[in-house]
Point group: C2
Chain length 615, copies 2
C-alpha cells in the first residue's frame, strides 16, 4: 500500500499545492472565505482523493461510493478545489465561489450533487458520518468507507464525543476521522494547540484506534489512511499536525488570518508555485446492491375501536411496527427511552433495524440524517422536551434537505407529576420554525397510525408530537388524514365561535363544546392535527361562518397552535377575532387534570372563555 | 480524615438505609417517582452529607456554602430524604412528594431554597457545576466546593464531555463529580454497565483525577471524598459501582424497575430495617465575603452620532465593556467567536471576567447559569444560529428561574455570503417560546447600547439579537428604550397602513416608506425592538388608526416578529389585517442586498406589498 514511486510523492505534493492555490484563488475571487483553513488540510485532501477515496463523480448515488464529509465546512474552498482536481467542476465554476446563484456556497450544501449533508455548524460531520457508517456496516452491509475531515476547534463540541462513543460501541471500522490540527481557531489558539496526544488520548479512551502524523508529510498521510482501511473492529482517527495557511509565509501559522482572503493573492499563488492543472482519476467504487426503495406490499395499520382509550404514543409504536413490516428501509432510532416513546413495539419486531443511541439526542438526530443519505427512512424518537437538545442538528438537517421523521412523546403539562423538565412545551415552536418542516399532533390512535404512514412518505423534516396519557378513539378505522388537513368534529349553522385543538386538547374542546351546548351555546370544533402546513381553508371558513376562533394548546403561547392559526390570516386578509389559550404558568408536579386546570386549558376554562367571547 | 470510629460507620450505614427507606416511602405515597435510582446512590449521599458537605440550610445564600447538584434529577426522593435527614424538611412534607402545590417536585427545582438549578434533563448538572466552580475559583475566590452527583446513563450526553474538558482546562479542583454507576438506564443496561474503568479512562484522558470505588462501601466513599478534597489542580471524579434498587431483593439490580414505586413498599421498608430518625448536623461553611450586588457608579454608555454607520454587534460589545466598568458582577462568556460577536471589546478591558468556553455552546450557556447562581450577571454570546445548540440548556435555565443574558450575533440572511448554516433564522422563535423570556432586537447603535443596560437589570432569560452589518444611527444619544416598548418612527393622520420592523428591517421599512411617500402613500413605521414582551398598546393604536399592519423580519415566518405582532391580538379583540413578510426561501450565498431581494424583504418588495394592500 505504501507509495513506492518517488514520482508519486512529487505528483501528490503538486496536487496539494494546486488545492492551496485554488483555495486562494476562489476566496480572492469571492472577496471572502476561508483559504487558510483550507491550506492546512490540502495535503490530507490530496492523498485521500488520489489514493484512498472510492467515488464515482458521475454517479453520486452509486451505493458503493465512499462518503467524504467536510465537517469543517468553512474550508469549502478546499472541497471545491478537490472537485476541480477530480474534473467535476471546471475552473470557471470554481471562481463563482460565494456568488449569488453559484452552487459553490460559503459552506457546502447538497445543492452540489457530491455533498451528502450541509456542514458549517461545527461538530456535526462526525455524528452524521456515524449514521452513514452504520448504514453501510449494519443495515446494508455495503463495504463503502466514510471519511470525515474535521478541524481541531470543533473537537470541543460535545456532539463529537457522543459520536465518538457511538462509533466505537458499534465497532465502525468503516469510519475514519481525520483531524486537521492546525492549532488556530477563529479567535486564537485552540485549547490543545499542537498537542496531538491530547486528542489521541481522548479518542483512544473512547475506544478508537489513532494515528498521529505530520499532516504535511505525504507518505505519512498515505500510510495512516492505509492503516485506517486495514484496522478492524474499531474506527480510526488520523490526528494530523498541520499549519493554518501552510505554504504562504505571510499567513502561515499566524493569528488573525481566519476567514478572510489572503492579503496578496497573486504573491501567494506565486509562492505556492503558481496555477496548476493536475487531474486526479478518482478510483471508482466496486459494484454494490441497490436497496429497493419504499414500501413493498400492503400496509396494514393497527385498528382501534371507537371509544377505546389508547395513548397516541402507543398507536405510534404500533403503526411504526406495521410500517416496518412492509418497508425494509424504515429504521428506528432511540434515545434510551423506547419503553416510554413506545419505539419498543418496533424494536421487538425488527431488532436489526433498531438503533439505540443512548442518552445523546444530538447523535440521535445526526445518525438519522446520515441514514437518510443512504436512502433509509429513519424515525428518531425521544421525549419532545429533549429534542430541544438537538435543535441545531434539526436546523442543519433542513439545510441538508434531509428527509427525516422525528417523534417527540410526553408533550405538554399532560404528563403530570414528572414536572416541567420533562414537558415538551416548546417543541411545536421549534419544529414550526424549521425550513420546510411538517408538524403533526394527533389526538387519537387511528389518526396517529394514519399520520405515521403519511409522514413516512413525505419530504423534509417531519415531526410527530405524541401524548403520554390515554385518549379516547374518536375516528373510525378508515378515516383518512392528510398532511395539511384538519377535521371539523362539530358544527352547525348557528355556531357562535370555533374551538381549535390538537392532540389531547381536541378532547378538551369537545368537552367544552358539550358544556356550552348544555347552556344553549353552539360552537364549532376543529381538530387541527396538521400544525404545519396548516389547513388555512378550513380556518378561513370557520372564521367567516363563526366569526371568532379560540385555540387551545398544551404548549407555551409562542410558536405553537395559536401562532399557526394566526399565520393563516397573515396574508393581509380580514382576520377574525382570535383568542389563544396556552400554558403560561410554570407548571410544578401535579396530576394531569390538575395541570390542565392550573394552566387554564381544561374544559371548564375553555367554556368560560367561550362564554365571555359570545357574551 | 479517615473514619476512625467503627460506630461512625454503623451510623452512616443507618443513615444510608434511612435515605433508602424515605425514598421508598416518598415514591409510595406519590404513586410514582424513582426510588430505585435513589437507592443506588444512598451510601454516596449519606457520606457526602455527613462528612464532606459544608452547607448552612438556614442560610442557602451563604456565599461560603458548598453546592450540591443532583444531576440525575429523577432521583429526587434521595435529595428530599437528605433534606429530612438534615432537618430541613419534616416527615410530613416528605410525603407530599409530587403532589400539587408541594415544592418537592418530581424533579428538583429552585422552588426549594437549597436547590440552585432545576435538573431532570440529563447531562446538565456537571456543565452548570463547572460554572459554579469557576465562580468560586476564578471570579470570587471563595473556597466552597461543588459536588455533582450524576448517573451513568447521562455520561453519554456530549454536554458532559464539554464540561469535562472545560473543568480540567480551568484546573477546577473545587469540583467533584460523583458518578453513580448503577448499570441500568431507563430502558435497560447502559453501554458500559459496571465497567468503571471505561468512565475512568475517558475522564483521565480529559485531564481529571479519578477514584474508582464500591459505591456501597462507606469507608471507600469517605476516603474518595477526602481524596477529592485534597487533590489540587485537577477536578476529581469518584466513579462508584452501585446497584440500582440496592437493599431490596425484589428490585435490586433488576431491569424493568426504573421510575416506579416499589411493588411492595411495606415489605421493602422492613427489608431495609424500617423507619429511622437519624439526624445529621451538616457542617457549616466558613465565613466568606459577600460581593456587592449590581452596578456601582454612573454607567457611561458609548455615544454615537446620528447618521454614523455602526453594526449593532459593535455597539453591543462597546456597551458591555462600559457596563463592566461599573458592575464587577458582569461576566462575559464566549463560544470562540468573540472577534465576531464583538465580545472582544469586553475581553480586552476585563480579561479576568472573560471566560472562553471554546466551541461548546451547551457549556457556554451552562457556565453562565452556574455563575448567576453565585450572583454574577453573565452575558453568553455566540452566533444566533449556534445558540440553537443550547436550546435545552436555555429551556432548563428558565425552569431554574435563572437570570441570564444571551446575545446572538449574525442574525438572518443579512450576513450575506456565508450561507444558511451561519444565519440565525430560528432564534426569535426559540427564545420567544422560553418561559418568561425577554427578546430584544435593536436596529441601531444607541438603541443597542441602552438595551444592553436594560437587559442586564431585568429578570429571567434575556436575549439580544444583533446584526453583522452596519446600520445607520437613527436615534439620538439620550433616547430612552424600555423592555416592552417600541418607537413610532414615522406617522401621520392619513397613514394607509403600518410597517413594522426590528433590527435592520427597521431601515428597510423606513426606506419603503420613503418610496411610498414619493407616490403619495403615507404609512406609519414602527420599530418593534422589544419582540417579547411586545408593545401591544402601540400595535393596537396602529391597528385602529391605520387599519392594517405589515411585519418585515429577517427570520423564518414562524415564531418571530409576525407571530409576536399577531399575539398582541390574541386575546379575542378585533384584529386588523395582518401581512407578514419573512424569509421563506432557502438562502444560498449572496451579498446582503441580494439576499434581501431573494427573500423578498427588501424595500422594493415591502413597498410593493404595501401598495397592493392599499389598492
Amino acid at each position: 500500500m505504501s507509495i513506492a514511486d518517488p514520482a508519486d510523492i512529487i505528483e501528490l505534493t503538486e496536487l496539494a499545492q494546486q488545492l492551496r492555490v485554488d483555495a486562494v484563488r476562489a476566496a480572492d475571487a469571492a472577496g471572502s472565505g476561508h483559504p487558510t483553513s483550507s491550506m492546512s488540510a490540502a495535503d490530507l485532501a490530496a492523498v485521500l482523493l488520489s489514493r484512498h477515496l472510492h467515488y464515482d463523480f458521475e454517479h453520486p448515488a452509486h451505493p458503493g461510493n465512499d462518503h467524504f464529509v467536510l465537517s469543517k465546512g468553512h474550508a469549502s474552498p478546499l472541497l471545491y478545489a478537490m472537485y476541480r482536481a477530480a474534473g467535476a467542476v471546471d475552473d470557471e465554476e470554481l471562481l463563482t465561489f460565494r456568488r449569488k446563484g453559484s452552487r459553490l456556497e460559503g459552506h457546502p450544501t447538497p445543492r452540489i450533487p457530491w455533498v451528502d449533508v450541509a456542514t458549517g455548524s461545527l461538530g456535526q460531520g462526525l455524528p452524521v458520518g456515524v449514521g452513514m457508517a452504520l448504514s453501510g456496516k449494519r443495515l446494508d452491509r455495503v463495504p463503502f468507507r466514510v471519511w470525515v475531515l474535521c478541524g481541531d476547534s470543533e473537537m470541543a463540541e460535545g456532539s463529537v464525543w457522543e459520536a465518538a462513543e457511538h462509533a466505537a460501541y458499534e465497532h465502525l471500522d468503516n469510519l475514519t476521522l481525520i483531524v486537521d490540527v492546525n492549532r488556530l481557531g477563529q479567535r486564537g489558539p485552540t485549547r490543545h494547540q499542537h498537542d496531538l496526544e491530547a486528542y489521541g488520548r481522548r479518542l483512544r479512551a473512547f475506544g478508537w484506534h489513532t494515528v498521529e502524523i505530520d499532516g504535511h508529510d505525504i507518505e505519512a498521510i498515505d500510510a495512516a489512511c492505509a492503516e485506517a482501511r486495514s484496522t478492524t473492529r474499531q474506527p480510526t482517527a488520523i490526528i494530523a499536525r498541520t499549519l493554518k495557511g501552510r505554504g504562504v509565509a505571510a499567513v502561515e501559522d499566524r493569528e488573525g488570518m481566519h476567514g478572510k482572503p489572503l492579503p496578496d493573492a497573486a504573491a501567494a499563488i506565486e509562492e505556492l508555485g503558481g496555477l496548476r492543472f493536475v487531474r486526479v482519476d478518482v478510483a471508482k467504487p466496486a459494484a454494490a446492491p441497490v436497496r429497493p426503495p419504499g414500501p413493498a406490499g400492503q400496509l396494514v395499520l393497527p385498528r382501534y375501536e371507537l371509544g377505546d382509550e389508547i395513548a397516541t404514543r402507543d398507536a405510534f409504536g404500533q403503526a411504526l411496527a406495521a410500517l416496518g413490516d412492509v418497508d425494509g428501509g424504515v429504521v428506528a432510532l432511540d434515545g434510551e427511552v423506547g419503553d416510554s416513546t413506545r419505539l419498543e413495539y418496533f424494536a421487538k419486531e425488527y431488532p436489526e433495524r433498531y438503533v439505540e443511541c443512548y442518552i445523546a439526542e444530538q447523535q440521535l438526530i445526526a445518525a438519522a440524517v446520515g441514514m437518510q443519505v443512504l436512502g433509509h427512512t429513519p424515525f428518531a424518537c425521544t421525549f419532545a422536551a429533549f429534542l430541544t437538545r438537538a435543535h441545531d442538528f434539526v436546523r442543519m438537517a433542513a439545510i441538508s434537505g434531509a428527509d427525516l421523521n422525528v417523534v417527540g412523546s410526553h408533550a405538554g403539562v399532560a404528563i403530570g407529576q414528572d414536572g416541567p423538565s420533562q414537558m415538551g412545551l416548546e417543541d411545536l415552536a421549534m419544529f414550526r420554525s424549521v425550513h420546510g418542516s411538517t408538524v403533526l399532533h394527533p389526538c387519537d390512535a387511528p389518526q396517529t397510525a394514519r399520520l405515521v404512514a403519511e409522514m413516512a412518505g413525505a419530504q423534509g423534516i417531519r415531526y410527530l408530537r405524541t401524548n403520554r396519557g390515554e385518549t379516547p378513539v374518536i375516528y373510525g378505522p378508515d378515516e383518512e388524514f392528510r398532511i395539511g388537513g384538519s377535521k371539523v368534529l362539530r358544527s352547525g349553522n348557528d355556531d357562535a365561535l370555533t374551538l381549535i385543538g390538537a392532540g389531547h386538547t381536541v378532547h378538551t374542546c369537545l368537552h367544552a363544546a358539550e358544556l356550552l351546548a348544555a347552556e344553549g351555546i353552539a360552537v364549532r370544533v376543529i381538530d387541527l392535527y396538521s400544525v404545519k402546513p396548516v389547513d388555512a381553508v378550513a380556518l378561513w371558513r370557520a372564521a367567516e361562518e363563526t366569526g371568532a376562533l379560540v385555540t387551545v394548546e398544551d404548549h407555551h403561547p409562542e410558536g405553537g397552535l395559536g401562532d399557526a392559526v394566526a399565520e393563516a390570516f397573515g396574508d393581509g386578509r380580514p382576520s377574525p377575532r382570535l383568542m389563544r389559550m396556552a400554558v403560561t404558568n410554570m407548571p410544578g408536579s401535579a396530576a394531569p387534570d390538575e395541570q390542565f386546570a392550573a394552566a387554564g386549558i381544561d374544559a371548564e376554562s375553555v367554556a368560560a372563555v367561550a362564554r365571555e367571547m359570545c357574551g
